[in-house]
């Protein structure tokens, strides 16, 4: 009996150890950013390419109001409703006190400065492919933006999804910093891939998700129903998106489709970001979209 108990306890300890090994947060090495010199001007480009304001500014914000990153937008999902936090420059309510490494850990590892997992509604599954130089530049730019004292609202997430350690398991299954579209790419297509797969995090909406909420890389950009809401995210693979590259560039610039309908919903916010990019970057995204494997 005693032997059995000992064996059971040992097994439990092993299981716990394995659970911890899989689920523990994995921040970057302390010297990961050594030698990187921040460039705030380039950081502004990263800011628009990364779409920070689309979620962290007010959805109705225009012009300079888009730079007030006080959070508050709500995102419904099958796991609960997430509320975008304040990432303004306020040292208490926002991220004004963060180091470069704090931002890098948040974006590429999904780990908070306190060492907790973030929910993947924050698109670190895409930002994981961002270069650390871009993140250092972005940090420098964010530091130039206004501080806002509005406290972040808590997420409305029930058991068991409120146990953040379980997100370690999610990351173990789904955090993959390899490119989805591979093979011979022109420099423009390669740049477009970086913008679309990493910073622009297009796949977060346009790629269907499995029951556990991971992006289905085999059906990249094939679209699907809006979680916890109405409507569909469109399929933007060449199987369905038959627009010319010039049409795509126009859409990412003015929001007009070839039929002169206009971007709606969250995509209108995306266009408000892509409109700030250099024209070459919008053309690069269009070139990349033509290289995505067609999926029905």
């Amino acid at each position: 009996m005693r032997k059995l108990l000992t064996a059971l306890l040992l097994l439990a300890a092993l299981a716990l150890g394995a659970f911890w090994a899989v689920t523990r947060p994995r921040p970057l090495a302390a010297d990961a950013l050594a030698g990187l010199v921040p460039d705030a001007a380039h950081g502004e480009q990263v800011f628009w390419a990364g779409g920070c304001a689309a979620c962290h500014a007010d959805a109705e914000a225009k012009g300079d109001q888009k730079l007030i990153l006080a959070g508050g937008q709500r995102f419904a999902s099958p796991f609960g409703t997430f509320v975008a936090p304040n990432i303004s420059n306020d040292p208490n309510a926002g991220i004004g006190a963060w180091s470069d490494l704090d931002l890098a850990n948040a974006m590429v590892r999904g780990v908070s400065p306190e060492g907790e997992h973030y929910y993947p509604v924050f698109p670190y599954a895409s930002y994981a492919k961002a270069t650390l130089q871009d993140i250092v530049d972005l940090r420098a730019y964010l530091a130039t933006l206004p501080a806002d004292p509005t406290p972040s609202a808590p997420h409305e997430v029930g058991f068991p999804f409120n146990i953040r350690l379980s997100l370690g398991g999610w990351k173990f299954l789904f955090l993959d910093d390899g490119w989805v579209v591979t093979g011979d790419l022109t420099p423009a297509e390669t740049r477009g891939r970086y913008l679309a797969e990493a910073l622009g995090h297009c796949g977060e909406c346009h790629t269907p998700r499995g029951t556990l909420g991971g992006m289905d890389r085999g059906r990249w950009f094939a679209g699907g129903p809006v979680p916890g809401g109405k409507g569909n995210f469109p399929n933007i693979t060449p199987a369905k998106l038959t627009w010319s590259e010039a049409d795509i560039v126009e859409y990412l610039t003015s929001g007009f489709t070839p039929d002169y309908d206009s971007a709606g919903g969250h995509m209108a916010l995306v266009v408000e970001n892509t409109a700030h990019l250099p024209a070459g970057d919008r053309a690069a995204i269009a070139a990349y979209l033509k290289k995505v494997p067609p999926a029905e």
Partner: protein
Amino acid sequence: MKKFLAGLTVAAIALAGAATAQDAPFAREIKARQGIMVYRSIQLGVLGGMAKGEIEYDAEAAQKAADNLAAAVTIDASMLWPMGSDNSANPASTALAKMWEDGAGIGDKARAMNEAATAMQAAAGTGLDGLKTAMGPLGEACSGCHKAFRVPTN
């Protein structure tokens, strides 16, 4: 007899279903407002085609499209938007119910559309540069409503 009654019931349900499909709630209003949207997009297609360089700039044609657009955004279409005629009442519509909520700002957004169309009306016939400049605020005004009040669509 029992079978006959059951059959009758099934037939009745099927008929009721067919009737509902035909008289889907607000079907005519939805059709009419979508028609107005398409009409606007056709005028925008002329202006946008010139702005993009796909159509050669023609002051007269541009002015005509801008006049049509301005007329189309100022007609009284309020009777086409009855309360409850949203996507959950009839999936043919892509309007979200929150459009009818107090404080949704629909009036402000409609005014912004009118102003952008009026600005285009003033600019379209004066030259390609003016037309191009007026295009941006028009797109913004369209998206102002579509961003807040439209179901994401394929």
